[in-house]
């Protein structure tokens, strides 16, 4: 299938000669593996920061009354938790996987624009400094919710400006990353790899990259208008000057809804790689998976106002957005069925990556169903801006994105490090995360149904019990991720004592398994040929 470099040992030595070992290596590198690694560490650091914020929130909500934080800090924590997790943790994690794996999967020597790749990563740390640093400026960090709705966001202090600039920078980084990914996939495929032979991970990233290019400028426009409303006397979102606060919401969600799929689609891609591997059976319905991914992406552009049912849309608007939103269930269901059919009559083993994929399936489907519940406008009127919605999107985001990211680390980690992880520890991490996640978020459905609004630091005693349960779960979930970093470091250090083979999973398919583990610094200098 592929031409593997014949002389491994020689290749390795040669490789070491060119390894830039200076401290400047990571600032100047244009190597997709270095950059991928940096993306992942950055993402993990942001994941821990966002996690600490979440624990601050849960600590305050453990009991009614104010104990841990003041309401103003509480709002800053919820706001920054959202932004940091979405833009800092989840998106960079998947860009990291794309950087590491796409060239290997496509048989390309590197990403198409290697220098731009470096630049798109190095934009992120300044953005992170702006975000985290905003906690320490007068007035504190932005506190208007990650959705930045005006007029509240116009009222806020300079933390909001830092947030706006951070969003600009991260948006620019995403756009460059997307251009790079699209060009790499379209132009650098090995000879013989037709589009319909692309690995699913590449397909989902290709579609995601188009979503990013289409929506990030929209978000940039929205926050720029916010900035000029704040400082230069424009009134885009101020009725007193002829503007409309609701227009911001339309623009924001025109970005915001596709953003959900920007997060979910690469996760689908990861799962579509892993389930066939551990079922030892090819992916069921490859072509329909591609079409389902594309239709989800297209539909994601025409459902945005389902986030805005309570703004007072006319009945016709509510009905249209309700129908369109319900329709998304069809291609999503097709994907779930495809994964199940892949497992059906396979030869299944349950290593940690597979467990995380099954966890993903279970939780993501649950989040999908609560999404269907929320798609019904009259039901959403009751549940909008309650803890039900919080539970819903954590089932989709944490299960959809985080669980598949964990699956990806366990699945491709041996390729990156050259060592197997410790299977027993990985399984403990999975069950610990799964149980703690459900303790945290399942009760939040009940809280929302019973009438607890989101984004409040204090609540009536009728919500006391489930909040206490949820907070306990959150801390358990947090500690599970400390455990995860221990597992990863032990894997890097080879504590399992098991060296990873070029293809450590017997059911795995694809060019990435034709190069040695750890993957040499330079791979596919001459393209392999795909039959």
């Amino acid at each position: 299938m592929a031409s593997v470099p014949h002389d491994h040992s020689h290749d390795h030595a040669h490789d070491h000669d060119h390894h830039p070992l200076k401290w400047t290596r990571f600032f100047t590198t244009t190597n997709h593996k270095d950059i991928g690694t940096m993306y992942m560490w950055f993402s993990f650091a942001m994941f821990l920061s966002g996690g600490v914020m979440a624990l601050g929130i849960r600590a305050e909500l453990f009991q009614p009354g104010l104990q841990v934080v003041r309401p103003e800090l509480f709002n800053q924590l919820t706001t920054l938790h959202g932004i940091v997790m979405i833009f800092g943790a989840i998106m960079p994690a998947f860009v990291g996987f794309a950087n590491w794996m796409l060239p290997l999967q496509l048989g390309a020597p590197d990403m198409a624009f290697a220098r731009m790749n470096n630049w798109s990563f190095w934009l992120l740390p300044p953005a992170a400094i702006l975000l985290i640093g905003s906690f320490f400026v007068p007035g504190g960090a932005a506190a208007g919710g990650w959705t930045l709705y005006p007029p509240l966001s116009v009222q806020a202090g300079m933390g909001m400006d830092m947030m706006i600039f951070a969003v600009h920078i991260m948006g620019a980084s995403s756009i460059m990353g997307s251009i790079n990914i699209i060009t790499t996939i379209l132009n650098l495929r090995a000879p013989g790899m037709t589009m319909m032979k692309l690995p699913m991970f590449a397909w989902t990233w290709l579609i995601t990259a188009f979503l990013l290019i289409a929506t990030m400028p929209v978000l940039a426009g929205a926050v720029t208008m916010l900035l000029t409303d704040r400082h230069f006397g424009t009134t885009f979102f101020n009725a007193a000057g002829g503007g409309d606060p609701v227009m911001f919401q339309h623009i924001f969600w025109f970005f915001g809804h596709p953003e959900v799929y920007i997060i979910a689609l690469p996760a689908f891609g990861v799962v579509s790689q892993i389930i066939p591997t551990f079922s030892r059976k090819p992916l069921f319905g490859y072509a329909s998976m591609v079409y389902a991914t594309a239709s989800i992406a297209i539909l994601s552009f025409i459902v945005w106002a389902h986030h805005m049912y309570t703004t007072g849309l006319p009945a016709a608007g509510q009905l249209y957005f309700m129908y369109a939103t319900m329709l998304i269930a069809v291609p999503t269901a097709a994907k779930i069925f495809n994964w199940l059919a892949t497992m059906w009559r396979g030869s299944i083993t349950l290593e940690t990556p597979m467990l995380f994929c099954l966890g993903f399936l279970f939780l993501f489907t649950m989040g999908g169903f609560t999404g269907l519940v929320l798609s019904l406008t009259p039901v959403d009127i009751q549940l909008h801006d309650t803890y039900y919605v919080v539970a819903h999107f954590h089932y989709v985001m944490v299960a959809g994105a985080l669980f598949s990211a964990f699956a990806a680390v366990y699945y491709w980690g041996p390729k990156w490090t050259g060592w197997m992880y410790e299977e027993k520890l990985g399984k403990i991490h999975f069950w610990w995360s799964l149980i703690a996640f459900n303790i945290t978020f399942f009760p939040q459905h009940f809280l929302g149904l019973a009438g607890m609004p989101r984004r409040i630091p204090d609540y009536n005693m009728q919500f006391e019990n489930w909040n206490a349960v949820s907070s306990v779960g959150a801390f358990l979930f947090g500690f599970a991720q400390i455990f995860f970093i221990v597992i990863v470091i032990r894997m890097i250090k080879g504590k399992s004592g098991i060296r990873a083979a070029a293809k450590p999973w017997d059911g795995a398919e694809g060019l990435e398994w034709t190069v040695p583990s750890p993957a040499p610094y330079h791979t596919f200098e001459t393209p392999p040929v795909v039959k």
């Binding site: 104010l66 309401p71 103003e72 709002n75 007068p138 007035g139 504190g140 506190a143 005006p150 007029p151 509240l152 009222q155 202090g157 933390g159 101020n238 009725a239 606060p245 079922s279 059976k281 090819p282 992916l283 069921f284 490859y286 309570t310 703004t311 007072g312 006319p314 009945a315 009905l319 309700m322 319900m326 269901a333 069925f337 199940l340 892949t342 396979g346 030869s347 299944i348 099954l358 489907t365 169903f369 269907l372 519940v373 019904l376 406008t377 009259p378 009751q382 909008h384 801006d385 009940f446 149904l449 009438g451 609004p453 409040i456 630091p457 204090d458 009536n460 005693m461 009728q462 489930w466």
Partner: protein, 532 residues
């Protein structure tokens, strides 16, 4: 409330399913809902509520049953799908020696599992569509109330009854800071609830003063964003009297969790009694001059009262207990230029608010409360301003520097009980005056005198004012005949005013207005006199 929380599990009511056409469908949905409620309420103990609140309006009932149905449908599919997955995980394990098959396509089954979800969605869309149409149909209301969201309180204006008031959190700060035992309705209690009659279609006109808010009462099935500069409407018809609680549902700043909503639904008789009391309290319909508190109070007494006002009227929310504010967001009062500068500026700020900021107008407070809180800020913390104000200074500031002619003078006005009529000349609050004509008739109704007197009093109180007369009609029957009748009725009112000595040039005739509503809607038979 606690009891009703516990009871909220006993929600299943046959009436819930009335709206689904045929008996077959009714039975199907009824069965599903029954299953769902059994499934969902099993572990429900007090304090462990897991379900939507017990509905108290037809719309909330539709929302409730829709939620039950869709949840049951989802749960059934979930169990089926994951049943298949777990079976596969069990049966198709490598450890059990299962050899992998190699199929990876089947067009038939792929079509089937695309079409079936689609059909399920179609079935779900039907009751949901019906509920949306009901929910959005705010036509022909029997009563209209304007709701305004402020940071962080709610304003309710009974626009046809000529009065309004502000509703703020009643939970003491000490409970929030865990210094006192929390009451049963902790954070869900207010000083002045919204009061409405049972069984009447109430239309809410919802807006905001500063940032977005959302008016949400789960039991009534209403959640509507309040948007500054725009008016949105929502409606409800409460089924049973009682107290219904909710919260602001849209993040509106740091006290977002502290602006609850309480709706008190009264029987019509109780409501009428309450309404009469309110009209009396706010001096609606009386042509009396405003009552001004002219007493001179010792400065200490005002400052002491001011501390209470500072804590209860919402000042403390932004400016903090030590007057330090929140740096970068809310200005400090301790050492502030405003508080230590010319006192007239501070009075104007409290009366008018500062546009574009969270500083709302506080003119709904009594003269004495405003004077007191100003005196409190000027003598507290490090502030040592020599200037201080008396209630009468506030009254003068309200009327542009001097008291209106004929203002009645009283020794004291009960704190927090300020007649709202003070903010505008009382004589105009009697307008709009409405005259309801008999069906098809253009003769003056027998109770016309009251309305005419109100108009006359208004014209008399303002030498240069004019009134406008508008006849109303609806869309049933012959449009031309309707419009003609409305015009004739308006003319009859004009003649009556002229007969009472009003000059022709002080009366404006407006074109007839059409409103929606049924044939028995008396609003469609009215003539309205408004200030022009």
């Amino acid at each position: 409330m606690g009891a009703s929380m516990m009871n909220q599990t006993q929600h299943l009511r046959v009436s819930t399913f009335k709206m689904y056409g045929s008996a077959m469908k009714q039975r199907l949905f009824g069965l599903l809902a029954l299953l769902g409620s059994l499934f969902m309420t099993m572990p429900a103990f007090a304090g462990w509520a897991i379900d939507l609140q017990k509905p108290n309006s037809a719309v909330a009932e539709q929302m409730y049953s829709l939620h039950v149905i869709i949840t049951v449908v989802c749960a059934v599919i979930f169990v089926l799908v994951f049943g298949v997955m777990f079976y596969s995980l069990y049966a198709h394990r490598k450890s059990k020696g299962h050899k992998a098959a190699n199929f990876h396509e089947n067009a038939t089954i792929e079509v089937v599992w695309t079409v079936i979800p689609f059909l399920i969605l179609l079935v779900m869309a039907w009751p949901a569509t019906k509920a949306v149409l009901d929910m959005r149909d705010s036509s022909a209301p029997e009563m209209t109330i304007k709701v305004t969201g402020y940071q962080w309180k709610w304003g309710y204006d009974y626009i046809h009854d000529g009065f309004g008031y502000v509703s703020t959190l009643a939970t003491p700060l000490a409970q929030i800071k865990n210094e006192e035992t929390k009451g049963e309705n902790y954070l869900l209690e207010v000083d002045n609830p919204l009061v409405v009659p049972v069984g009447k279609k109430i239309r809410l006109l919802i807006t905001a003063n500063d940032v977005l808010h959302a008016w949400w009462v789960p039991a009534l099935g209403v959640k509507q964003d309040a948007i500054p500069g725009f008016i949105r409407d929502a409606w409800f018809r409460a089924d049973r009297p009682g107290l219904y609680r909710g919260n602001c549902a849209e993040l509106c700043g740091k006290e977002h969790g502290y602006m609850p909503i309480v709706v008190e639904v009264k029987t019509q008789a109780d409501y009428d009694k309450w309404l009469a009391g309110q009209k009396d309290k706010y001096g609606v319909g009386k042509v009396a001059a405003p009552v001004i508190d002219t007493k001179v109070y010792p400065r200490d007494e005002l400052a002491t009262l001011g501390k209470t006002v500072y804590e209860s009227a919402g000042c403390i929310g932004c400016h903090g207990p030590a007057g330090k504010g929140v740096p970068g967001q809310f200005p400090a009062l301790d050492g502030s230029k405003m508080v230590n500068g010319p006192i007239a500026d501070q009075v104007a700020l409290l009366l008018n608010g500062k546009p574009g900021t969270a500083m709302a107008s506080f003119k709904h407070l009594s003269d004495k409360d405003i004077a007191a809180v100003i005196d409190f800020t000027r003598t507290s913390w490090s502030n040592k301003s020599a200037e201080f104000v008396q209630p009468i200074d506030i009254a003068k500031a309200r009327f542009g520097g001097k008291l209106p002619d004929g203002a009645a003078v009283a020794g004291d006005t009960k704190s927090g009980d300020a007649p709202k009529a003070v903010t505008a000349p009382a004589s105009s609050s009697a307008l709009p005056a409405k005259l309801y004509f008999a069906i098809g008739k253009k003769d003056m109704p027998s109770d016309a005198k009251e309305s005419l007197d109100a108009a006359l009093a208004f014209l008399k109180s303002k030498g240069d004012a004019k009134v406008a007369i508008t006849g109303f009609t609806d869309k049933t029957g012959n449009r031309d005949a309707n419009l003609e009748l409305a015009k004739e009725r308006a003319k009859a009112v004009r003649s009556a005013l002229e007969a009472a000595g009003v000059a022709k040039d002080r009366i404006e005739m407006k074109p007839p207005a059409e409103i929606t509503g049924g044939a028995d809607n008396k609003e469609a038979r009215r003539v309205e006199i408004n200030p022009a």
